[in-house]
Structure formats: C-alpha cells, structure tokens
C-alpha cells in the first residue's frame, strides 16, 4: 500500500470533517506539523477539537487555525503565547480544557494502546480532579483520566522510509509519538523520505504501523525563544 503522497493537501484528502478531534504533535513551535496545519487551514474544516500541548503563536503553527476560527476547543497544558488565542478564550468563542502535560501525553499514549482510562496521582486535590473518579491504591488517592482516541493525528518527524517508519530529531520528538499513536488515521510530515532498507531497524523511533500517510516537505522550524551565550564565555 502506498503511503507517500505528493503534498499535504493530497495526504489529507478525504480525511477531514467538521467537528472532528485532531491530535497534533509538537512542543511550543518545536516539532510541529506545520505543513499539515497549513493544509487544514486551506481545507476550511471547522469546529475542530485539537489535542496539542500548546496552541502555537499568532500567525504560526496552530495559531493559523485560531486566526481562521476553525478550532472550537483546545486540549492543552500551556497556552497563551498567542494574543488571538487569549482573545477568543476570554470572549468565550473558544473552549479550553487544561490537562497536566504528563496527563495529556499519557492520555494520547493510552488511547493508542487501547486503554480507555488510567489512574494517576497528578492533579489529586486540585481543580483538575473535580468530577473525576478517585480510587485508592496502597492507601493513596489517584484520579482516573481517559485515553484520547482521535479521529486524526498530525505529526512531524525528521526522517521516514516509504513504509512510514519514523525517526525524530532531538527534542522535536516530544508529543509526536503519542499523538501519532492515538489517531484512527495518522498523517506524518518529514524532512526526508528514504527508500525502505535505508534506515537501521534498530533506530526506528515509531514503527510505520502507526503512520498511514506521509509527505516530505520544507519546514520553517521557527524558534520561539532564541537564547545564546557569547563565544568569549567559552
């Protein structure tokens, strides 16, 4: 079965619908599926719920989908690097479900592993626990969190082979593997697609079983906080 598509538009063809739940990889602007986000903007799909650690910045990443009002709800751990996000949120146009970062990652991983719920200590005794089932294990309280089963996953990796085996680079891996795992369909964008056999099987970070469609493209890879030290400090 052919997984490699010519463009982000082609790779998303037939997969998008209004009101769907999309899981997106990335942390801040690092390792985000920027080409697929652009294609979703073009598609006009609306009322989307997006599970993503962050919501991009104004005019870049998921911020583009906020600018066009295509997102109805975000499931995130940290937002607000984004004036348009805060405007929509404060005016009630945008729903926001805060998830502790590790809970969000585990909810995605669990969904991808067929686990509909799990218990965690994270958030016990806080607003996050409100309305959630509490169970004691070994005399300590844990709260139940539900796995995320997304309609579509969009992720970014560094390299892929044509069967969809993925390799990530440095901290751009972040939420991409769990996001990829939890979707019914996963579309990945990468910097380079190589023929099968070119990647060492021992070096694959995410097996191609999780990846259904694949594109190669140029990435802007914008830096959110450029911090450096001077050479003479060496």
């Amino acid at each position: 079965m052919k997984k490699v598509y010519g463009s982000a538009d082609e790779a998303l063809d037939g997969l998008l619908s209004d009101g769907m739940l999309i899981a997106a990889g990335g942390f801040g602007l690092c390792g985000i599926p920027e080409l697929l986000i652009d294609a979703i903007v073009k598609s006009g799909a609306k009322d989307l719920t997006v599970a993503s650690n962050n919501a991009g910045v104004d005019g870049f990443g998921l911020g583009k989908l906020l600018d066009t009002r295509q997102i109805k709800k975000m499931m995130s751990s940290y937002v607000g690097e984004n004036a348009e996000f805060m405007r929509q949120y404060l005016s009630g146009e945008l729903e926001l479900e805060f998830n502790p970062q590790g809970t969000l990652a585990e909810r995605m991983r669990a969904g991808g592993c067929g686990i509909p719920g799990f218990y965690t200590k994270t958030g016990v005794g806080t607003v996050i626990a409100e309305g959630k089932d509490v169970k004691q294990f070994g005399g300590e309280d844990y709260i139940m969190e539900e796995g995320i089963f997304a309609d579509l996953s969009i992720v970014k990796a560094w390299k892929a082979d044509d069967t969809g085996n993925l390799i990530f680079r440095k901290t751009a891996r972040n939420f991409n593997p769990p996001a990829a795992m939890c979707g019914k369909i996963c579309v990945a964008e990468v910097e380079e697609i190589v023929p099968r056999g070119s990647l060492d099987p021992d070096h694959i970070h995410l097996p191609g079983i999780y990846v259904h469609r694949l594109i190669q493209g140029e990435h802007e890879k914008r830096i959110e906080q450029r911090t450096v030290r001077k050479r003479e400090e060496a």
Partner: protein, 208 residues
C-alpha cells in the same frame, strides 16, 4: 542580609546529591545549575531530554533542541532524548530524584500553588502538576514575601493548588524550612537573619 537570588540558588544546589537526575523550574531554580560544582547531576527537561546543556553559542541555535521554557539549548555527551509520554513516565514513576520549583504560595501542610491566579491570565500548569506529584523530593525556592510584603509561607494556600501536600523543603531569602508533622520546622537561617525575623515573616505555623 537576606540571601539574594544567587545565594538562594547556591543553597538549593546544596540539596542535590551526586548521581541525581533533577528537574529545574523556571526563574531562580534555573540558576541552580550554576552551583552544582563537581557533583554528577543530570538535568531533565520535561519536553523530552536528559542531560540538558547550556545555551548554544551565537549561530549554533538548533530549532529542534529546546528546553521546557522553549529556549534554545545544547546537548552534552550524556544526553538522551525521548517522547513526552516517556518523559512524564519517568517523572510520575519517581525516577527523577528532585524538582526545584518556584512558587506563588506554600502552606504549612506542603500544599503548593504556582500555576494560576483567578481573574488573571491563566496560561496553564504545563508539567508542574505531574512533577510535584511524581518526583522524589519537591524543593521550593522563592522569596519569603510577595512584592507587597505579604508572607507567601501560609497556613493555607489561597490560590488554586498545583499539588496537595507535595512540598518537602522551602528555601527563601530568609532561610530554609522543612514541611513536618504539624507545621514547618526551621532548618537554617539566612546570614544575618534572626529566628524572630523569620517567624515574624511567616504566616504558617512553625514547630520545633
């Protein structure tokens, strides 16, 4: 003289033991990395890295290599990378020996508030709730009072909690306090700070 930011960071660094894997929060906790000396400490960045190095030299910034504060950083010879689920697996699983974090409020029962002020812009808890629930030791480094001079070391937190009963030790500009049965215990006074001054600046109950 109460401790300044760097002295608080240096005091917090004394808490770390050789061989520990540690997560440092934003602000004063970040400065702790400057004071670990010869100890073999591996810093975790919860976006998926163990062995966090310093900021890159100008021109060497890599957009694929950032810390949890989204700042460009570098790797070390010991560095490893992993995904967010595994990263919080090691946090929740108690593999990270300690987290050093800033705080808005700490209570005498170890409650911690550092993510949300009702009515103000709420950006989210990020990984803070997972860290305080999971790591071996939670060490808070903060000023003893807020900018209005009101104690941040309280009987009860007034702000929404990040974690309940999670703090082990508090390091402020006035000294070091441990969360113990029944209240807080003074461990150490900052240079030139008297016990009376520390008690007067603390709303929480201090026990002997």
């Amino acid at each position: 003289m109460p401790w300044d930011r760097n002295q608080m960071a240096a005091r917090a660094a004394d808490e770390l033991e050789d061989g520990w894997y540690v997560n440092l929060g934003i602000g004063i906790p970040t400065l702790v990395a400057n004071y670990v000396g010869d100890k073999d400490i591996t810093l975790q960045s919860e976006n998926g890295m163990l062995g966090m190095g310093p900021f890159p030299f100008e021109g060497d910034e890599d957009p694929d290599l950032i810390n949890a504060g989204k700042q460009t950083i570098t790797e070390l010879s010991r560095t490893s990378y992993f995904d967010s689920a595994q990263s919080f697996g090691m946090i929740r699983g108690g593999k990270i020996a300690a987290a050093i974090l800033g705080a808005m409020e700490v209570a005498e029962n170890g409650d911690l508030a550092n993510w949300m002020i009702p009515g103000k812009l709420v950006k989210g808890m990020g990984g803070a709730m997972d860290l305080v629930a999971g790591v071996g030791r939670v060490i808070v480094v903060m000023d003893h009072a807020n900018k209005h001079g009101v104690s941040k070391v309280l009987k009860e937190c007034t702000l929404p909690l990040t974690g309940k009963g999670v703090v082990d030790r508090i390091i402020t500009n006035l000294g070091v306090l441990d969360v113990v049965e029944g209240g807080l215990k003074i461990v150490e006074l900052a240079d030139g700070v008297s016990e009376d001054e520390l008690r007067a600046a603390t709303e929480a109950k201090i026990v002997d």
